[in-house]
């Protein structure tokens, strides 16, 4: 029928917490691409990790007639008001990757469970370290609560093992260069660390660079999070021990498809769809590609 026609009239907004990090760029672009392939006009909004800016984006999107919003929230609590604002305007919101703390604000939330993901990384960490040894942790943006979700998930496991001592916990802003510099200094203070857990893959790569220039590559195990291309490769090469693979592609596409179904009249969406984070190690790395599974 004239479906494609009335799709033309419908616009879908993709509001993403930041584009300063390839992982989110990928998430946003996949979502936009999928929605586009389903015949919708789409646009990406960059909230720059600023919930206030996200609010502006919501207002502007609503005012300029977007009919659905695929959201990657900046903050679980802060974004609630925004989602509710959209809901009030009768616009469905589909959360990707990060959740908003509200039972029924969003039409559906397709979530990557950072917490349990980092729990898995923690478990593997313990096993790889044989339950003992000194290690360091690189946090992301200390002002960003997702940083803490991952850190907490990790520690919820690791802290049970008295043999594992965290000798340094420093912030590196999810930034590769910063991570490298911080790691260089940590290695000075604690030449004897045997592992480092990084809040994301960019920092893992930075930490690895630091290890190289300190001649410690291979002697210190690096653990990351996300599943970025370079890291998947590094795991193959045995440079990086493990990472928590998230599935931005799956989440983004599901969200886009849901939006499409919503327009087609479907309403009974599952409130939450957890997309589990999978542990990628040298053993199983061959099954994975950047941000996803081989198929």
């Amino acid at each position: 029928r004239n479906q494609s026609a009335n799709n033309q009239s419908k616009k879908i907004a993709v509001i993403v917490s930041t584009l300063n990090n390839p992982w989110f760029v990928f998430l946003a672009q996949t979502a936009a691409a999928k929605a586009h392939s389903l015949g919708y006009e789409t646009r990406i909004f960059d909230s720059q990790n600023n919930t206030a800016l996200e609010t502006d984006h919501f207002e502007n999107a609503i005012a300029s007639g977007y009919k659905a919003i695929l959201l990657n929230p900046t903050d679980a609590n802060g974004s609630v008001v925004n989602v509710n604002r959209a809901k009030a305007a009768g616009i469905p919101v589909f959360c990707m990757d990060r959740e908003v703390n509200s039972a029924n604000a969003a039409t559906s939330q397709i979530l990557s469970d950072s917490y349990s993901g980092s729990v898995d990384v923690g478990k593997y960490f313990v096993q790889a370290m044989h339950k003992k040894g000194k290690y360091a942790e690189l946090l992301g943006l200390v002002s960003d609560n997702n940083t803490w979700n991952r850190s907490k998930g990790f520690h919820s496991v690791v802290d049970y093992y008295p043999g594992l001592k965290m000798v340094a916990q420093q912030g590196a802003e999810f930034d590769e260069n910063k991570a490298m510099e911080v790691m260089e200094s940590i290695l000075q203070a604690h030449p004897d660390i045997e592992a480092v857990f990084c809040g994301n893959d960019a920092m893992a790569l930075g930490a690895y660079q630091a290890l190289i220039s300190a001649g410690k590559a291979g002697k210190v195990k690096v653990f990351g999070f996300d599943g970025a291309a370079d890291v998947v490769q590094s795991i193959k090469d045995g440079k990086i021990a493990a990472t928590g693979m998230q599935f931005p592609q799956v989440m983004a596409q599901t969200a886009a498809i849901y939006a499409d179904e919503y327009f087609k009249g479907k309403r009974d969406f599952p409130r939450k769809i957890p997309v589990s984070v999978e542990l990628v190690t040298q053993k199983n790395v061959t099954n994975y590609i950047a941000f996803g599974k081989k198929n």
Partner: protein
């Protein structure tokens, strides 16, 4: 009309040209632009920047600058939210102090002006260049925010508080009311009080001002604490709009504020400029952000376009101003 009035007039209204051009273009390109809803959105969105930029204008007029406003906004927002939510607890002698919405807000504004005064003090007492003093404060205040919030947002602050950011009053959003009041007050101060004259005089020629018996340090400290307080006001609006205080709120807001000030035709070397100009500057930036969305410009291109337009706006200013 005397050359000076004429000049003041120019400074006040050059940016208008840029703004009008912008609006015309936008309303041609998008039918959504000139709608009431959108209008209110833009005004609500710029209200925060206006509060900050007005304070910045006062500082810049004394040939200073305040880079700490963004962090101050975050800190004051967090403190108000914290006091509202948890009050002050002193477990040792299990004492608990609760706060009313008003009380919490007052505290927030107080902290803002104290930090501002601290800026003013280091600048006047130790002759630290404003750029450095406030740059240091930018880092310090951000750190304090982290310490206070432990890196987590403080959320769900109650409907009364939410009114500040989201409520309406006689058909106009409350944040807009706030910014209007701030602007009018600032205009009155700059143009109708001795303090205003002193601000311009200090920016124009500090030596001569001193020899005219003006207490430079006092004026500067007042001005910086005003800037701090206004940043705090911005903090209240942001926090209330989100019903949550974000520890990383207000990052790089100082740049938007300064951009507004300069687009408004205020000279960064001090002594010349006006609040009205700044308001126009802020509106231009707000309309621009809004327009780029309406026109569905991709976020990457957006930055490029935004930069170019800001540049253009200032160039138009200069072209029309007879001075220099």
């Amino acid at each position: 009309m005397s050359s000076n009035k004429y000049r003041a007039y120019l400074i006040k209204f050059q940016p208008l040209i840029a703004l009008i051009v912008l609006c015309v273009v936008l309303s041609i390109l998008s039918d959504k632009f000139l709608t009431a809803d959108n209008g209110w959105n833009v005004m609500r969105q710029i209200s925060v920047n206006i509060c900050i930029a007005v304070g910045m204008t006062l500082v810049v007029l004394t040939s200073g600058i305040d880079l700490s406003v963004g962090s101050v906004l975050a800190l004051c927002g967090a403190i108000t939210a914290g006091l509202l939510k948890n009050g002050i607890e002193i477990p040792s002698n299990n004492l608990f102090i609760g706060f009313t919405v008003l009380g919490a807000i007052v505290m927030g504004l107080l902290v803002g002006s104290i930090i501002g005064a601290a800026n003013g003090y280091t600048i006047t007492r130790f002759k630290v260049p404003p750029f450095v003093a406030t740059l240091a404060m930018l880092t310090i205040a951000r750190g304090l925010t982290m310490l206070y919030t432990k890196g987590f947002p403080i959320s769900v602050l109650g409907d009364n508080f939410a009114q500040i950011g989201t409520g309406w009053f006689i058909g106009i959003p409350v944040p807009v009311w706030i910014s209007v009041i701030v602007v009018l007050a600032a205009v009155a101060v700059t143009s109708k009080t001795p303090l205003g004259r002193y601000i311009y005089a200090i920016g124009g020629n500090e030596n001569a001002a001193r020899l005219s018996g003006i207490n430079i340090n006092r004026v500067k400290i007042i001005v910086y604490s005003m800037a701090g307080a206004l940043a705090a006001v911005g903090g209240m609006i942001v926090t209330s709009r989100l019903d949550s205080a974000q520890p990383n709120a207000g990052i790089s807001y100082e740049l938007d504020a300064i951009a507004a000030v300069v687009i408004g035709g205020t000279s960064l070397s001090g002594g010349r400029g006006s609040i009205w100009g700044t308001v126009l500057g802020a509106v231009i930036i707000g309309v621009l952000n809004n327009g780029l969305v309406l026109l569905n410009v991709s976020p990457f291109w957006q930055q490029v376009v935004k930069g170019l337009v800001i540049l253009l706006a200032v160039i138009i200013d200069k072209a029309n101003s007879k001075n220099d």
